[in-house]
C-alpha cells in the first residue's frame, strides 16, 4: 500500500503493559505488551473475553490510569495520564453502564453545561444554543435537558452520556461496551448513532464489545484480545472470513446463531482463560488451543503481519486446518 493510501493514525499504542498488585509474586498483568493503532475516522472494535484487558486499555487511553510501561501516541505525540486539559479534551470516553455513568443528582443541563463552561468550549451566552445542538446530535429532544437521569431509559441515558463526551468536541471516542447493558431494540439506535457520528463528525472510535454480532455490524476493523495481548487484528470482513488465530476461530464458532445448531457437538473451545497472575509459559493460549505444538509451550509468538492490514500472534498463522488435532486436557 502506498503512503498516500495509508490511513493516518490518530492514536497509537506501543508495547503498553499494565500491572496491578503490590507483591512481587502477585502481580497481575492486565496488559502485556499491546500494540494497536486507531486510524482517523475509523471504528476499531476491541473484542475479547472478560478480563482480557479491554477496559484497562481504554482507561489508559482516556488517561484515567497510567500504563506500567510502553507509550501512547496521539497524532504522533506521546501522552500520559497526567495530561493537559486540551489533550484531555481530544479523547473522551463512554462507559458501559448508563445507569451509573450519570450523576443522579444533576440534571442533564447542569451536567452538560458544566463541561462546556469548564472547558470554555463556547462563549457563555452560546451555551444554551450548544446544548440544543448536542441534544439533536444524539437524537434527543431539548425538553430532556431539565430532567434528571432517573427519568430516562437506558438507551436515552447512553445518549446523554455520549452527548457529554461529545460536548468538548473530541477527536477520539473510546466506548467501553456502550451497548452491552442495553436491550437489542435500543442497542440498534446507539449503534446507529456511532455510525453517524463517525460519518458526520469524522470521529475515530475505539469500540469495545464482547458481542461479535454487534461488532460485525459496526466496525471497520477488529482487534481480538486474549489475556492482555492482541491475538489478531484485521479488517472486519477479513477477520470473519478467514480468521487466522485459533482463538479467533473459536470465538467465531461460539457465537450463538439464529439458526439451530447441533448442541451434541463439543463446544468450540474448552476451558476458560487462566489467571493473569499465573500466565502459562509460551503462547498464552496454548492450554486451550487445539493445535498447540511443542513450540507453543516454549515461546510466545509476536503479533506478525500475515497480510495487508491483518496481523496475527500465532506461530502457525496461515497454516492451520479447521479440524482440531488435539483435544485439550487442561481445564481452567
Amino acid at each position: 500500500m502506498s503512503a498516500a493510501e495509508q490511513p493516518a493514525a490518530v492514536l497509537e499504542v506501543r508495547e503498553v503493559t499494565k500491572r496491578y498488585g503490590h507483591g512481587r509474586r502477585d502481580t497481575l498483568r492486565a496488559l502485556d505488551g499491546v500494540d494497536l493503532t486507531l486510524h482517523r475516522g475509523e471504528i476499531l472494535a476491541l473484542v475479547g473475553e472478560s478480563g482480557s484487558g479491554k477496559s484497562t486499555l481504554a482507561k489508559i487511553l482516556a488517561g484515567s490510569t497510567s500504563q506500567t510501561s510502553g507509550q501512547v501516541l496521539c497524532d504522533g505525540v506521546e501522552i500520559t495520564a497526567r495530561r493537559h486539559s486540551t489533550a484531555r479534551r481530544r479523547i473522551q470516553m463512554v462507559f458501559q453502564d448508563p445507569y451509573s455513568s450519570l450523576n443522579p443528582r444533576m440534571t442533564v443541563r447542569s451536567a452538560l453545561s458544566e463541561v462546556l463552561r469548564v472547558h470554555r468550549v463556547v462563549p457563555r451566552e452560546q451555551i444554551a444554543e450548544e446544548l440544543s445542538r448536542l441534544m439533536s446530535l444524539v437524537g434527543l429532544d431539548d425538553s430532556a435537558l431539565d430532567a434528571y437521569p432517573s427519568q430516562f431509559s437506558g438507551g436515552q441515558r447512553q445518549r446523554i452520556a455520549i452527548a457529554r463526551a461529545l460536548a468538548v468536541r473530541p477527536d477520539i471516542l473510546i466506548a467501553d461496551e456502550p451497548v452491552s447493558a442495553l436491550d437489542v431494540s435500543v442497542q440498534a439506535t446507539i449503534l446507529d448513532l456511532f455510525e453517524s457520528l463517525r460519518s458526520e463528525l469524522g470521529l475515530s472510535v475505539l469500540f469495545i464489545a464482547h458481542n461479535l454480532a454487534v461488532v460485525q455490524h459496526l466496525a471497520d476493523r477488529i482487534a481480538v484480545m486474549y489475556l492482555g495481548r492482541i491475538a489478531e487484528v484485521a479488517q472486519t470482513d477479513t477477520l470473519f472470513a478467514s480468521p487466522e488465530h485459533p482463538y479467533t476461530q473459536a470465538l467465531i464458532a461460539s457465537v450463538p446463531r439464529m439458526r439451530p445448531r447441533d448442541l451434541e457437538q463439543p463446544p468450540a473451545l474448552d476451558g476458560e482463560p487462566p489467571s493473569p497472575i499465573h500466565l502459562p509459559t509460551g503462547c498464552r493460549f496454548n492450554p486451550r488451543c487445539a493445535y498447540a505444538q511443542p513450540t507453543c509451550l516454549i515461546d510466545e509468538p509476536a503479533l506478525e503481519r500475515v497480510a495487508e492490514g491483518h496481523s496475527v500472534a500465532c506461530w502457525f498463522a496461515g497454516q492451520l486446518q479447521q479440524a482440531p488435532t488435539k483435544q485439550s486436557e487442561e481445564f481452567a
Binding site: 484515567s64 486539559s85 451509573s100 450523576n103 442495553l182
Partner: protein
C-alpha cells in the same frame, strides 16, 4: 486454588430496569421521615415556645413545694428545690437541642471534609488521616469526652469542644468509605475524564451523593451527644446549674431513683422521644437519599 476474586470479575448483568421502583417517591410519602420530622418539629416548637408555654420560671425555687407528685398546679410535679418539672423540661429542650445540634455541626463539617479528602486522594494523605482516626477510635467516646471535659472544666463550651475533638472521626470514617465507593462510580470517572478539577469533582459530583450517610449518622449522633451530656451530669461534669437541662434533671433525680423513680423517667422520656424522632428522620433519609441502598 488461591485465585483472587478480582481476576474473575463478571460483566455486570444487565440491570433490571424497575420503572416501578425507579421513580423516586416524594419525601412526604416517606412515613419514617414524616413521623420523625413531626416529632422533632414539635420538640423544637416546644423549645422555642418554652417562655410562652411554661407555667413557671424554670429556676424559681419553692422549697415548700419540693418533691411533689403531679398535680393540677404542677402537671409533672416538682423537683428537690420545688421547681416545676414541666417548665424545666420545656426550657431544657432549648439547651439540649441546641447542644445536640451545635455539637454535631463542627465534627460533621470537619469529619466530612477530611474523610472526603482521604477517600478521594488516597495515598499518603489517606494513610495519615486514617491513622489519626484510628488513634481517636481506639479511645471510647465517653472516656475521651469525660477526660476532656474534666481537663477543660465543666460547662457548655467544654462540652462542645470535647465532643468536637472526639466525634469527627466517625464522620471521617463514614464519608471516606462512601467516597471510595463513589470514586469508582462511572459518573465520577466520567467527570474526571471530562477534565473537571478535583475540587469540583468532589464538591459537585461526589459530595451530594455521599453526604446522606453522614447526615443519617448525624441524627443518631445528636442522641449520643445528649446521652453524653446526661452521663456528664451523672458524674458532676455537666451543664452549670441552675440551668434547666435534661441531663442535669436526670442526674438530679439520680438520688431519688430508689424512691421517686419517675423523676428520672420524665426527662428520660423527653430524651427518648427526641431520639426516636431523630432516628426516624435518619431512617427516612436513608431511604430517601439513597434509593439503591434501600433496606
Amino acid at each position: 486454588m488461591t485465585t483472587f476474586s478480582l481476576t474473575h470479575r463478571f460483566r455486570p448483568s444487565r440491570r433490571e430496569a424497575r420503572p416501578a421502583a425507579r421513580r423516586l417517591r416524594p419525601w412526604y410519602q416517606n412515613r419514617s421521615l414524616v413521623a420523625g420530622l413531626v416529632i422533632v418539629c414539635i420538640m423544637v416548637l416546644l423549645a422555642v415556645l418554652a417562655p410562652v408555654l411554661a407555667p413557671y420560671n424554670p429556676i424559681k425555687q419553692n422549697l415548700n413545694e419540693a418533691l411533689q407528685g403531679p398535680s393540677g398546679a404542677h402537671w409533672l410535679g416538682t423537683d428537690k428545690l420545688g421547681r416545676d418539672v414541666l417548665s424545666r423540661l420545656l426550657y431544657g429542650a432549648r439547651v439540649d437541642l441546641r447542644i445536640g445540634f451545635l455539637a454535631v455541626i463542627i465534627p460533621f463539617v470537619v469529619g466530612t471534609i477530611l474523610g472526603a479528602i482521604a477517600g478521594y486522594f488516597g495515598g499518603w494523605l489517606d494513610i495519615i488521616i486514617m491513622r489519626i482516626v484510628d488513634v481517636f477510635y481506639a479511645f471510647p467516646l465517653f472516656l475521651l469526652v469525660i477526660a476532656l471535659v474534666f481537663v477543660l472544666g465543666p460547662g457548655e463550651s467544654s462540652i462542645y469542644l470535647a465532643i468536637a475533638l472526639v466525634s469527627w472521626v466517625s464522620y471521617c470514617k463514614i464519608v471516606r468509605g462512601e467516597v471510595i465507593v463513589a470514586r469508582q462510580q462511572e459518573y465520577v470517572q466520567a467527570a474526571r475524564l471530562g477534565g473537571l478539577n478535583n475540587a469540583r469533582v468532589l464538591g459537585r459530583h461526589i459530595g451530594p451523593n455521599v453526604i446522606s450517610q453522614a447526615i443519617t449518622y448525624a441524627m443518631s449522633d445528636i442522641v449520643m451527644d445528649i446521652m453524653v451530656i446526661v452521663t456528664l451530669g451523672y458524674l458532676g461534669l455537666g451543664i452549670t446549674p441552675p440551668t434547666a437541662e435534661w441531663g442535669s434533671m436526670i442526674a438530679d433525680a439520680q438520688e431519688f431513683i430508689t424512691t421517686l423513680w419517675w423523676m428520672a423517667v420524665v426527662p428520660g422520656v423527653a430524651v427518648v422521644i427526641t431520639g426516636l424522632g431523630l432516628s426516624l428522620i435518619g431512617d427516612g433519609l436513608t431511604d430517601l437519599l439513597s434509593p439503591e441502598r434501600r433496606k
